[in-house]
Structures are given as structure tokens and as C-alpha cells.
Symmetry: C2
């Protein structure tokens, strides 16, 4: 089994299950509290399916006030709370513990306000990422962050993990597009942070909330910055016979001052899987870049020419620029199906780390060496423009020891990211997956001030407590409390 240590659940809380469920049922609608083990099983894991644990109960509120009522009860009874969006976390961010109540935002689905004059939308956070842009499309606007899971994932989860996506190179990730939140604290108190305008008087808590992985509160409403849709956008596909040279091409595009909307990278392992699955007509080579530019026809043409010249100096095996919408769809088709295609090859661990773009060539070479050392194949498909890598480590879950080897390989890759000046996570969060690697990124003092801030907002460490911070570092913080 896995090498990640799970916290020991509090038997005293588990023994109190009937009282906890009764207290929740007393303040919430009948269909909002799930406690039957046959039903709570649906919430035993998120998209990091290697880890599973059914929670004590699940709460599915429809309003901020219902979230607050549930939180107050958990707070008063000392029950850990695991916030959950759509459960698409790849880092185990929504993984429950046996002594926890899952509070999910799925039913908070209202779009509350659309204001194109002041460029914001206000939604309940159970709406899916894609449906926000869906609402805005008829008005000529869109919401920029676009995680691969955007059909399913919710704005609540996007905020918790500071989600990104292919188009974040130009428009930034969630934190750059979040203007305000309504949030329920661990105590059940409801607070408003930020608003339709950027900026704040006093301490700017918004950036702190974004990416806090459900450890500071549950965000029930969000005000999001929206953008007018560009006149047009057009991708190009560039194939190279060397991963390093493809990485160099990314670094040169960024250095040139061009700002494409997206620069996506796929290596040969991924390309073969995609061709077998989606038949996108990609070239058979070591690495492919998809670079998308946008603007007026003239702007698109000018940027395409500049990128063609940068690529040409590196002798690509193929350069294909889209001339119309059909060709654009064809170029994107394989990339969009990459994760599905990889899933057909077998089990994989999807990693998430960032490196400086100038270090992409070196990092790609080292990942290849590590793959040979660990004896496991790796596929690279990621947002190259901002150095946000997603190596997929292939393994066989039915083969004893394979998951542990994949995890060890994954740890080496993430340590490599930190060593070259990068970060443990780009957009998936730390969750439980990277919890024990936090000390590779932070010294004890740097981690301590994060935990002090967490303690300020959640003094009893009831919110998603087994995540983000190594258990041996965060455990003492909880000992001094009422739990």
C-alpha cells in the first residue's frame, strides 16, 4: 500500500456519530445529511483514487446559512470538517478521514449577478467552472481559468486549489481572477472578503483564502473577474525530435516577449497514447508544442510569424498553423483528450510542479533519467508556458510495490522541481499527496508562519486538518487545543 501516513482517526468522535448526525439533522433539511455507510461511500475519495476512507457523514447544503449551521455543530462538537467541491482533486484535497464530516458545495448552484459594465460575475461556488463561461458566452465575456476538469470541477474547488489551466499563461490563475468571497469560518461565522473591485483596505485576506485548500473556511459565494472574449484565437502545432529542444523553444518564446494565450507540451509517450485514442493526426516525434495566440486577424498573423521564426531556428520536424476553426479543433483535439488517452494505458500518478521556463530543458532531461532509474515510464503533458509540469507516472496498481515505486519516483520529480527554483505545486495543491514534501520547499520557520495564520482562523485545526502540513509538524499545533 501507499507510503503516505494517514492520521489516526479520533475514536471518541466516531463513537459519537449518532449524536453528531442527529445534531446536523436537527438544523438541516432531511436530504442534506447523509450518514448511511452505503451512501457516504460515494465520498470516500476524490480523483486521487489511490487513497480512500469513508467519512462519518456528508452534508450537502443549499445555502450559506446551511453551511454555517453545519460548521457550527462540527465546531461545537470538535468534529473535523473536510470541504469538498466536485471531488476532482488530484492531490487528495477532498479525501475524508473516518472521524470527519464532509461538507460539499455541489448544491450551491446559483448564478447571483452578472455585471459586464464593471466586469464581474457573482456565483454560488457549487457552479462548475465551465458553466460560468457558459453563462457569459452570449454576452461576449468569459471567465479565464480553465482547468482540464472544467466540465465537472466547481468554483469552490478552483478557489481552494488556486486552479489554473491551459489559458492561464496570459490571464493568470484563479487568484488573479478572484475579486471577493463570502466564506464560512470554522466557527460557523460568515464573513465577506473583497468585492467587485480589486484591492482592499486593511489586510488583503483574499489571496490568503485562494489556494488555502479548505483549511481556512468554506467559500460559498465568489465574485469573479470576467473578460471580454478576444476577436479570435488560433493555435499552431510544432513538432521536435528532442524533448530538450522543445523545452528550449518554449524558453525562447517566453524570452522574446511574446505572450501567447497557451503553450502546451506533449512528449512521445503521450503522443502515442493520444494517437491510439483520438487519432488527432499528430506527428510521430519526441515532443509537440501547441501554441495559441489571439487578437485580430492581423495580430494573430504577426504573432504566428514571429513564433514560426523562433521555432525555425530550432529545426522542428513539423510546423502547422491553423487556417480555420476546423484546423484549430484538430490541433486541440489530441491535447484535450490526453488525460483520457493516458488512462487507457493503465494506472498513472499525475504530478504537478512548476519550474522556471529556462530550466525546462534540464528538467525534462532529468525526468527521463529518473524514469530509467526507477524503471517506470513517464509521460509529460503540461502547461509549458508558465513552467507548470504534469508528469504522468505509469504503473500497475495490481502489481505489489508498483504504487510505492511510482510515489518514490514522483517525490524525486517534485524535489527536482524545487531544486531548480520551482515549486511543489502549480495548480493541484498540496493536499495529502505532497504533504510530506512541504519540508523540501520550506524551512521550519517559513512553514511555522503559515501554520500560525491557519491557527488564527481555525484555532482548533478542524478544517481539513490532515492536509498540506506534514503530520508531525501540524500535530503539536492540535495538541494544545480543545480537540
Amino acid at each position: 500500500m501507499s507510503t503516505i501516513q494517514m492520521p489516526v482517526p479520533d475514536a471518541g468522535i466516531i463513537a459519537q456519530k449518532p449524536q453528531i448526525v442527529a445534531a446536523l439533522q436537527a438544523v438541516l433539511p432531511a436530504d442534506a445529511v447523509i450518514s448511511d455507510p452505503a451512501e457516504t461511500r460515494a465520498y470516500e475519495c476524490d480523483a486521487l483514487t489511490a487513497y480512500r476512507c469513508p467519512p462519518l457523514a456528508v452534508v450537502l447544503p443549499r445555502t450559506t446559512e446551511e453551511v454555517a449551521a453545519a460548521m457550527r455543530i462540527c465546531h461545537d462538537m470538535g468534529v473535523p470538517v473536510v470541504p469538498r467541491g466536485a471531488g476532482t482533486s488530484l492531490a487528495g484535497g477532498a479525501l475524508p478521514t473516518a472521524d470527519s464530516v464532509v461538507i460539499a458545495t455541489l448544491r450551491l448552484r446559483e448564478v447571483l449577478e452578472i455585471d459586464t459594465s464593471n466586469r464581474f460575475v457573482r456565483v454560488q461556488t457549487g457552479v462548475t467552472n465551465l458553466s460560468v463561461s457558459g453563462e457569459l458566452a452570449p454576452l461576449g465575456f468569459f471567465y479565464a481559468p480553465d482547468p482540464s476538469s472544467q466540465l465537472a470541477c466547481t468554483i469552490a474547488g478552483n478557489i481552494a486549489m488556486n486552479s489554473g489551466g491551459a489559458h492561464c499563461l496570459k490571464y493568470g490563475v484563479t487568484t488573479n481572477n478572484l475579486l471577493g468571497v463570502r466564506m464560512v469560518l470554522a466557527s460557523g461565522e460568515i464573513v465577506e472578503i473583497g468585492g467587485p473591485l480589486p484591492g482592499a483596505a486593511g489586510l488583503d485576506l483574499l489571496g490568503l483564502i485562494c489556494g488555502s485548500e479548505g483549511q481556512l473556511g468554506i467559500v460559498t459565494e465568489a465574485t469573479l473577474r470576467i473578460l471580454p472574449r478576444p476577436e479570435g484565437a488560433r493555435p499552431m502545432l510544432i513538432g521536435f525530435d528532442s524533448a530538450e529542444v522543445a523545452g528550449e523553444c518554449v524558453a525562447r518564446i517566453i524570452r522574446s516577449g511574446l505572450l501567447p494565450v497557451a503553450i502546451e507540451y506533449m512528449d512521445d509517450v503521450c503522443l502515442r497514447a493520444v494517437e491510439g485514442f483520438a487519432r488527432a493526426g499528430y506527428p510521430d516525434c519526441a515532443a509537440v508544442l501547441i501554441v495559441e495566440v489571439e487578437g485580430s486577424e492581423a495580430e494573430i498573423a504577426e504573432q504566428t510569424e514571429r513564433i514560426r521564426a523562433i521555432a525555425a531556428a530550432l529545426h522542428p520536424v513539423e510546423f502547422r498553423s491553423s487556417r480555420n476553426d476546423d484546423e484549430s479543433l484538430a490541433i486541440w483535439k489530441g491535447r484535450k483528450s490526453a488525460f483520457g488517452a493516458m488512462g487507457r494505458l493503465g494506472d498513472y500518478l499525475c504530478l504537478d510542479g512548476t519550474v522556471p521556463v529556462s530550466k525546462l530543458p534540464f528538467t525534462l532531461r532529468r525526468i527521463g533519467e529518473l524514469s530509467r532509474e526507477h524503471g517506470l515510464e513517464v509521460a509529460n503533458v503540461f502547461h509549458a508556458g508558465d513552467g507548470n509540469m504534469h508528469p504522468l507516472i505509469l504503473f500497475d496498481a495490481n502489481k505489489p510495490g508498483d504504487l510505492e515505486r511510482a510515489e518514490a519516483f514522483g517525490r524525486d520529480i517534485l524535489r527536482l522541481c524545487v531544486e531548480v527554483g520551482g515549486c511543489l505545486t502549480g495548480e493541484h495543491g498540496v493536499g495529502i499527496e505532497k504533504r510530506d514534501l512541504m519540508s523540501a520547499q520550506y524551512g521550519p520557520d517559513d512553514m511555522a508562519i503559515q501554520m500560525e495564520v491557519k491557527s488564527a482562523l481555525d484555532p482548533r485545526w478542524l478544517l481539513n486538518p490532515a492536509k498540506v502540513f506534514p503530520l508531525d509538524a501540524s500535530q503539536p499545533w492540535r495538541e494544545g487545543t480543545a480537540r
Copy 2:
């Protein structure tokens, strides 16, 4: 005199001055500690000159370690610390109290690293804002935030106040361009937050630090995002015979989806002052907009045409687009000298609040009405594109009661900003100026969680304690501590 209540200095600390100075001198170079009242007087105020108070002592460190040494002593002896950049704060952010030690970052002037491949620069925070872009200019890059005081103000102060500037409409304010900091906490501990890459594992403390007005620590090094210089930029000048119609023009430009680099607004009072001072050749009308667009020649021409069409529908009295660099300079000349020109008219209070751009016409009309009610003239010159207003209230400091009337007028304007959905501050910070208005923006719970976060990083409330939070709200927080 002023209506703002100053905290009562701690006589016990003042009595200990010789011991405090001796302790500082023991760990710092001789020229780094100033305690002679004739010399500390230079630090008795910042650009909000209506408030003055010489500090107990001033420390001028050259390294992070010297800052840490000074902080440790102040912490151990319970002495409040007032961090100071260049002292250009318009909100009294660097105003000392009689029992405080000022720690200034002025001598931390090294540029540590420039990396155009990964688009960042790392500097000590005593460098001036303008000198950062100055270093980058030969390489074809620039640092985006450009406060009016950029010749003098330091990066430390920019971070403390989350400074903006005319070009922030397109590129965002300091928080959107800050990647990492090295910071000394109240305890003297040195921490690293963020780094060359955006994003963080665990809690993102960077957004919290930015705009924290020296209340969480002293930032001694900063990693800043840099941008390639655009191909070209060109302003246009649009004159209207009504302030409201000018405001409507701003709202329509934003709503159209265009994203100019800057939209600046000047009203008739300001225009007359500027003409008398700089002879910029501005039209004699109720309001002038300066709109700057950038990109290639074709992009500039296209955007200029679209803005011309939007303005034409509102019947401007003048539309002048620059055809060359000389004309560009002429259009900017008056705006850049506006604050100097206003200073020649007499004393003024420079306010800073934000409103949704769609509310600009209404807000401008109400400010005119308030001006008549309070019997004081007001000039409006501000960053209209992001709704960041800077009304200048004219008064006579030698006329008894005039400052108080100006302050009362100012409070009404800022309350108006909050009422229409805006914020107390856009880029100057709360400081001491807007401290007592925080409750107009925040409920007690919203303010309490800010103070809890402040307490987590500065449990004794030693860092810039008389600022940001109303004295009656923050005082109890300090009573329970060792001070």
C-alpha cells in the same frame, strides 16, 4: 487641529530611550542609529504633512540582518516599530509615534538579480520604483506599477501600500507584480515567502503581505515580475463639457472590452491649475481624459479609432490623438505636473478611494454637491479606468477650522465610495488617515479576522500599531499582551 485621534505614547518606553538607543548602537554600525532630536525631526512625518511626531529613534540599516537585529531589540524591549520607505505615503502610513523606533529601508539599495529569461528581478527594497525600470530599460523590459511618486518612492513602500499608478489598468497593481519577498517579522525572524515563480505550496502569504502597511513585517528583498516593453504606446486627449459625460465615456470604453494601458481623468479645477503651471495646451472644458493605448502601429491605430468612435457618440469638445513622440509628451505633460500644479494653489488633502467604473458619473456629480455643502473646492485628477479616484480637497491650513472641514468633506467622499460599492483606498493605503473609516467598509467580524491574522504574525502588536485599525477596536487586542 486635526480630528484624528493619536494614540497616547507609552511614557515608560520614552523614559527608557537611553537604554533602547544603547542596545541598538551595540548591534548596528554607528551611522545606522539616529537619536538626536535635531536629526530625528526629519522623520517626524511623511507626505501627509498635517500630522507630525518625532520618533524615539531612527534606524537606517544596510542589510536584512541589520533590520533583524534592530527588530529583535525592539521586540525584546517592547518598543513599537514604524517601518518607513521614502516617506511618500499620503495616508500617514509612516507617521511615527513618540514611543516608536522608525526602521527605514532607504539604504537597502542593491539590485541583486535580473533574469529576463524567467522574467523577474530581485532587489533590495530600498531601491526606488523608477530605478527598477531604469535598470531594465537597456534590456527591453520594465516593471509595471508606476506611482506618481516613482522617482522617490521605494519598493518597500510600494509593497506596504500595494501601490498602483497610471499604467495599472492593464498591468495590475503591486500585488499582481510581486513574486516573492524576504521579510523580517516582528520577532526579528527572517522568512522567505514566494519566489521567482507565481504560486505557492500551502498558504499563499504573499498577497497578505502586500498592502499590509508595515503591520506584518519589514520586507527587505523583493522578487518582482518584469514585462517586455511594448512596441509602442500613444495617448489621446478627449475633452468634455460635463464631468458626468466624461465619466460615462470611461464606463463605455471599459464596457467595450478595450483595455487601454491608462485612462486618466482631470476636471476643470485641475485643468486651470495645470494650465497656469505647465502650459500644456489643454482645452478649457469641464473634464479631460487621457487615454493611452499600446502595441504595434496597426494595433495602436485600431484601438485609437475604436475609442474615437466611442467618444464621438458623447460629443466631446475636443479629440486629439498623438501622432508622434513630441505630441505624446505634450499630452502627458499636464497630467504629470498635476499634483505640483495643485500644490501652488494652496494646501490640499489628496484622497484615494475606488468606485465601480459604471458609478463614476454618479460619484462625480455627488462630489460636486458635497463640495458646495462643505464650502470647499475640490479638484479631481485620477486613474479613471479602474475607478481609482483622487479628489484633492483645497483648504487653507492657516485658517482655523479649515483642516477639520476638509477632513469632514474627505470622510463624506470616502463613505460615498463605499456606498456605491467601492473601497476606502485604491493605492495609498489606510494609514492613519482612513483608520477611523474602516468601520464604514467592514463589519466587526470582517475586521476581527484581519486583526486575528495581524496578531498571528505580530502577537504584541508592535509593528505600526496605531494605523489601519480604529484605535478603539485594536486597543483591546494590545491590552492582553506584554506591552
